[in-house]
Symmetry: C2
Subunit: 320 residues, 2 copies
């Protein structure tokens, strides 16, 4: 373990993370939409991480983690369990550093996702589709290979990497009244909150969260982490539960978390597809759904929204 995993990232640590990953990640474009501005009554700036490598912001954190390893750790490689964007991000970051990567994936994961991870040269280790099986299998892989486990969000190197999306947004577009993200495990939200705390302290950080996976809202109310008993939402990137590291930052630096239903998420996703002509995944539409649900609160404000990713299965779209 390096020092980076022990403390909440400072401004210097986030600057370092940004310098470290800058040559390897896309500085994604910021888009605006006159028609969604008109519909919402706010001035919106969309940071398009759906255009990031592997199609999601997760590549930022994964790259920062992998590129932070020392020589000894590099030899052993990295491992995680993921059927989603973190697995793909970690696999590609490991490929760029020419180190081994082991990705534990449920055997029922979509073939296209497995192929994408394998395409980056990572080894895919199948497991049963339960959290217990995922964790056990990962444990075995780590014992056998000595690989370093890179958690998708419970890791300050990951949080510092995700913080760079909002940092780029502010550097390019100046100060915002509000910056919005979705919240799943809280890596992006906590990183965004740190960035605003350090470089734009008057900016409110507000998250959207699916009502079917509302552990962050429950936890904010209770002041302690309360998992959602049976999380279920179309926003498949947000099924995870926040952890001590992310919640510690979120409770101090996030102004509000707004709950949205799956119908509201799909409607927001459709609006983005139709008006902006870009593909975002359901999770990415969550803050837009939160904004449209609370128009009065955001009226006339300058709002940054991080569009987190664009990985959808075109064979299973929620439009009818």
């Amino acid at each position: 373990m390096t020092i980076l995993t022990k403390n909440i990232p400072t401004a210097d640590i986030i600057v370092e993370a940004h310098e470290r990953i800058k040559p390897f990640v896309h500085q994604t474009p910021v888009m605006t939409s006159q028609s969604i501005n008109a519909i919402s009554g706010a001035r919106l700036y969309f940071k398009c991480e759906n255009f990031q490598k592997v199609g999601a912001f997760k590549f930022r954190g994964a790259t920062n983690a992998v590129f932070s390893l020392n020589e000894d750790e590099r030899q052993k490689g990295v491992a995680t369990h993921s059927s989603g964007n973190h697995g793909q991000g970690l696999a590609l970051a490991a490929k760029m550093q020419k180190i081994p990567a082991y990705i534990v994936m449920p055997e029922n994961a979509p073939r296209v996702k497995r192929l994408a991870v394998e395409g980056s040269g990572a080894e895919v280790i199948p497991c049963k589709n339960t959290l217990a099986s995922r964790e056990e299998t990962l444990q075995k892989v780590v014992e056998q290979t000595g690989a370093i486990t890179i958690h998708p969000f419970d890791d300050y190197r990951i949080i510092a990497g995700q913080a760079t999306a909002a940092k780029e947004l502010i550097e390019e577009q100046g100060q915002f009244d509000v910056i919005m993200t979705p919240v799943g495990g809280g890596g992006l939200l906590s990183g965004t909150a740190l960035t605003c705390h350090y470089w734009s302290p008057l900016t409110k950080v507000i998250a959207g969260e699916p009502s079917g996976a509302d552990d962050a809202i429950r936890s904010m109310k209770a002041g302690t982490i309360i998992p959602c008993p049976q999380p279920s939402t179309i926003a498949d990137g947000l099924l995870t539960t926040i952890c001590e590291r992310t919640f510690g930052i979120i409770k101090d630096h996030v102004s509000d978390i707004i709950s949205v239903t799956d119908d509201e998420i799909v409607a927001a996703m459709r609006l983005i597809w139709e008006r902006m002509k870009i593909i975002v995944e359901p999770s990415a539409a969550v803050p837009v759904a939160a904004l449209l649900k609370n128009k009065e609160e955001f009226k006339g404000k300058k709002i940054g929204i991080i569009l987190t990713g664009g990985n959808v299965d075109l064979d299973k779209l929620p439009f009818r």
Copy 2:
């Protein structure tokens, strides 16, 4: 009629058109995709007219035509028959100039399209879904209102407007080995061919055309316009037949037209959606399908592709 409609646009006329429309159209971004480069073996630069106002390049030509009217013509307004992008483009351009617009549309046109046109303040006049009814109805509208008919492509003002997409592409990204567009009525293709002829004479202009609406290929072979008897293709923007004005330019300045099937179009469209995370309509995927069908011909070359539009009905997507 102004002088602009009487002669093939000169370089000066296209420069004038560009200056005229520049403050009102988006200078659309140029995107690249490492993965589609790897798949194709070529270096591709995508001019994203799917991000243009009304979601298609058609707004360029419509704006040039509307903004070229003299005071007397402005008073009378403009008219066309269109269920697609030209109708929307003309309606918005007319709105910007605060002049009346009359758009004849088949009564079975999608509600969302009718609403979009009406949303720009244009008057929608319903007709039966036949070319005869469209033309008759338009004729009546013109007789009643004195409005100036703006044809979607058989008009040198339109051609000069469409020529500005390739002009921007070359100005931003330098010379190309090849620039590709689809061909329907030929407005974009002939405009692109003129731009290359004037400012990048070593660039080959190559089009893709749906095999189910292959009037341009038939006409190139025959040396005279041969309509396709019963045009049918998923690329609904390309059902139209080239005309004397566009064919006159195409036969002199276009190197090749490549035929592609609907399956090839859908596969190319899917590739763009999945790899680039942007929404393009079937017509826009046609040149990409043509490129992928002839990889050897394009290998290692620097290729500009005009992605013509992004207006799809999300309820009727061709993916399974």
